[in-house]
Amino acid sequence: MKPPVTLGRADEPLPEACDVAIVGGGVMGLSTAYAVAESSKLRVVVLERSYLVSGASGRNGGGVRMQWGDEGNVRVMMESIEICRGLAQELGINLWFRQGGYLFLARSEAGEQRLRRNAELHHRVGAPTRLLGPEEARELVPELDVHDVRLAAFNPKDGVVFPWPFVWGYAGQAIRRGVVVRTHTAVEAAEADGAGLRLRLSTGESLRANLVVNATGAWCHGLNHSLGVRLPNRPHRHEILSTEPLKPFLDPLVVDLASGLYFSQSTRGEIVAGITMPDHGDGGTDVDQSSSLGFLAHLGRTLAAVMPRLGRLKVLRQWAGAYDVSPDGDAIVGPSPGVPALLQLCGFTGHGFMMAPAVGRMLARFIVRGERHPMLERWDPTRFVDGRSRAREDMIIG
């Protein structure tokens, strides 16, 4: 395939007006732009404050799984993984997608019950999850310490991707289909303009759009506040590290439910690992992307206990990113309360990357054809206003 003309530029000319303006050049914004351009003639513009993979989409672990505790999430992820299987070819880029499975370890009775409940649900909806005893888990990952593991769950279709090419791939194909991608340009304010909205940009320009998609993740409050939209999602810092590369030896991504530790081996050979940490945020809307020594120490201790041999492995780098979390754990997608021309595409917590292929299509079908996927009912941003919000998912890691 011949390369696209560009991958977005700071000096890309903007039209006066467009049908859909997408604010935020992360995986959510770009997968949506691609899907809209793929299925319609709508004029789409993506505006990114910095460069394209600068947000959470350039900082995540690339874990992709259908092992969820809630049926809706399992189904979304079955669709996303199906899309991922053909996506490298569709986008013409190597995504380093490797289906080595996810292996969950339960060490408490409550954890064991969760895995049993999940396995029944997965069986019912057709996801190939298997329950394993501790010794079977050790056959999959020979160096694991399983002495107090009560039960494990394994799904061979789960896996990992390398996030960077994924995002570039969506950007390149969106641009090839006519999407204008303008980088290094922030949306500073927005106001009503007829039935649409007018965006004020950091460059002094303005852009009118019939529909605006807020795909700014942890930073979503800036745009929302300027239109008087108040939503309860809040930014959360999540840290991660990667080690020196080794020859392939670890097939699945391992999650230890008791500690919230997860680790996998990327196709490039490095071990990528993260763990649940206490939230340092003050409940406000400031975004923190700093790294901490406390994270390294806590992760080092936990990983060296779960798989003692990895203690000898050297950490090469650590970093942090930010995503937004909603109070019921569900995403926030669709027309905003009081401002229907502003579509939210936020609240994806620590699993927005894996959901983006399916969610981009879902939102594009809503934009182009008005089609309402059942998850859009559930992710409706107005649910916090009229009290329909309900926590359903208990397998959120991050």
């Binding site: 390369p3 696209p4 560009t6 991958l7 977005g8 530029r9 460069y51 394209l52 993979v53 600068s54 350039g58 960077w164 570039w168 390149g172 080690t243 020196e244 590369p245 439910l257 008791a258 500690s259 919230g260 490039r268 763990i275 649940t276 940490m277 206490p278 939230d279 790294s291 020594l293 406390g294 390294l296 120490a297 806590h298 992760l299 080092g300 201790r301 990983l303 060296a304 990895l310 203690g311 000898r312 492995l313 050297k314 950490v315 090469l316 780098r317 650590q318 970093w319 397998m395 959120i396 890691i397 991050g398």
Partner: protein, 97 residues
């Protein structure tokens, strides 16, 4: 010839790949790092970043005033997980998921 000249030896990134990235409109060190993987291997960019900046300047992708290195990530030197595990004073997580 440039097909075979490596800028980043850890991740095998060549001059030709960087020229391709520049042709796609990617002009900063951060963008090139995330497009090619340059600087993410064992030396963490210590060997290649100067060569990259020279190339960006030679190709007129950036001006000397505007050039910025990528964010240096801790640790400064590779450290084993076991050594890190011995660092005291880690906060325990509030609750497991």
């Amino acid at each position: 010839m440039t097909q075979r000249v490596f800028v980043c030896r850890c991740e095998d990134v060549t001059v030709a790949e960087i020229q391709h990235a520049i042709a796609l409109g990617l002009g900063s060190v951060e963008e090139i790092k995330r497009y090619t993987g340059l600087g993410t291997g064992p030396c963490q960019g210590k060997e290649c970043i100067v060569a990259l900046v020279r190339l960006l300047l030679a190709e007129r992708a950036v001006t000397p005033e505007a050039v910025q290195p990528f964010t240096a990530r801790p640790p400064a030197e590779p450290v084993t997980l076991a050594e890190l595990a011995s660092v005291a004073g880690t906060p325990p997580p509030e609750d497991g998921p």
